[in-house]
């Protein structure tokens, strides 16, 4: 009994240690005081208004959203194709390619970032939004491949064989049967890719062209000058997006699957 209550207390403490800083940011975002700190003087949305009026931040926000969305589209498309090849076909060097696709997760991001940068220098290519997008897609791709691959392995081959025997061409079979069946994983993979890109700072610092800021690099830049309450508000928005989007997606997925059965 005593051991259990000790374990419980310990667990709660760990969670507090992990989530308290986040909670502080969330609370301070609504503090009316100019200087972030406790006790909170009054409730206010002024930092959100200020955030909205700050051109640099809204620009960074738009960049991040665009980057995240494009990363999701590119890495999901590539991820689906890679997963299809790896699960449905036999070819030489399959294991090697699998390892290759997963490596970006294992290699430290800094190493990956510097590596890609040097490679592009060698090709005499300047840093650009395209490069940043390419880099983010590389980082997100393994996650998409893993999620989609897991799902595809669970989709029995005979669904596809049945569709073909009924007269559907391979392409029709993919769009009529395989794709709808793996849609939940595709959706999850795309969300993964989006949040990974939206959150990323380490690699982004290396890859972004001069003058371009994403939300994380913008926050980073602002922190170097001062800890403004605006940052708390921005943090609030970031947390809402990175936590809220997957949660919402999960709820939607459950709603749709329940409707069907």
């Amino acid at each position: 009994m005593r051991v259990w209550s000790l374990l419980k207390t310990y667990t709660v403490m760990v969670y507090i240690f992990m989530f308290a800083p986040i909670l502080v940011v969330l609370l301070l975002a609504f503090n009316s005081s100019q200087f972030g700190g406790f006790p909170i003087e009054g409730f206010s949305l002024r930092w959100f208004v200020k955030l909205y009026e700050n051109d640099a931040i809204t620009r960074a926000f738009r960049t991040s959203l665009m980057l995240g969305a494009l990363t999701a589209i590119i890495s999901t498309t590539l991820g689906i194709l890679a997963a299809l090849a790896l699960v449905r076909y036999e070819f030489r060097g399959k294991d090697l390619i699998t390892t290759f696709l997963i490596t970006p997760v294992l290699v430290p991001e800094t190493v990956l970032a510097v590596g890609l940068l040097i490679f592009l220098r060698w090709l005499h290519m300047p840093r650009s939004f395209g490069l940043l997008l390419l880099g983010h897609s590389i980082i997100a791709l393994p996650f998409v491949v893993l999620v989609v691959q897991a799902r595809l392995t669970g989709i029995r081959r005979d669904y596809e064989e049945a569709a073909q025997s009924l007269g559907a061409s391979p392409l029709q079979t993919f769009f009529q049967v395989t794709f709808p069946l793996m849609l939940p994983a595709v959706f999850a993979g795309a969300l993964f890719a989006f949040t990974i890109s939206f959150d990323n700072i380490t690699a982004t610092v290396f890859w972004r062209p001069s003058g371009m800021e994403t939300v994380p690099t913008q926050i980073f830049g602002m922190l170097r000058n001062s800890v403004s309450p605006e940052i708390n508000a921005l943090g609030f928005v970031m947390i809402c997006i990175t936590v809220g989007v997957p949660l919402l997606a999960g709820m939607l997925a459950r709603y749709f699957s329940r409707k069907k059965i």
Partner: protein, 359 residues
Amino acid sequence: MARVELINIQKSYGSVQAVKNANVVFEEGSFTTLLGPSGCGKTTILRMVSGLADPTNGDIVVGGKRINNVPIHKRNLGLVFQNYALFPHRTIGENIAFGLKYRGVSKSDAQEKVRHSLDIVRLPGVEDRYPQQLSGGQQQRIALARAIVIEPDVLLLDEPLSALDANLREDMRVELKAIQDRIGVTTIFVTHDQSEALAMSDKIVVMSAGVVEQIGAPDEVYNTPASEFVATFLGASNLLPATVAGRNETGVIMETPEFGKTCVPVARSITLGDAAKGQLMIRAENLHLTKASITKIDSANAVVEAVDYQGQLARYFVRIGNTQLQAINMISGRPFSAGDKVNVSLIPEECSALPANDT
């Protein structure tokens, strides 16, 4: 509906030969079963006919046309899988109508055809449900409806009953055969279950290790097996090494240490040829046990070693000298028990002669 011909079909996976030189004709409108243990190549043949696998050698001819190079989606075949393979994200109606989309059937015609096919499989009115809302047997009927609604040239069934439980399997067996009779489609049925094969087929193709062992009507395959494999795979048999003691116009005289001379009819000794040695095959149900005091012709004295009691019949393991034999007898009165001395008799006309076992 079409006649299907396999001409010198071979299939190799690397160095493994899954099917060795098979020549089989599936007559128009007939129900043919590919029977054999797992790994004998029966499913490989089905997959080659359907287009899911390419033969390494040989020709597949359907309705007079060679279809080796026709891709699966242009072959117009109905395929039913062991696990039904109904699309879980489509309703029953959409599942059945799936193949009609690619055949230019109008929406209203498709609806009519779906309803008609559901009537055939005796599950009317389930169009709007999803596959997972139906039981296994019902799903299997839907899979069948989906395969026959496109009016296929050939219906291919890959162990369609093996996922069902025993009682349902027997009901579906009868029903499947009835449906096939009614629509008259050329059907190729793959199974490892001998009772399914014997009960349903017009013709059975017995396979083992990639080789077609025998092709014939169920009673033909059962009563006059062409090889030792067929004799032991179908039913329970006793195989006794024998020497050929003579030949006359009625049959071949096989001499065994257990039963002396037995005259096997010519029709039941075809594969023996001119060999001087062979095997005498006696079905377990054709060995009759009587009390030791009654001595019949073509009989031997034996001791019952074990009894496997099954209600209306019993399986006996009896010993004659050094040979153990199996006998399945209907029980009239009290069954024999282990240790009983009995007389075991056979009827020569019910025995077969097979080539000697070289291995």
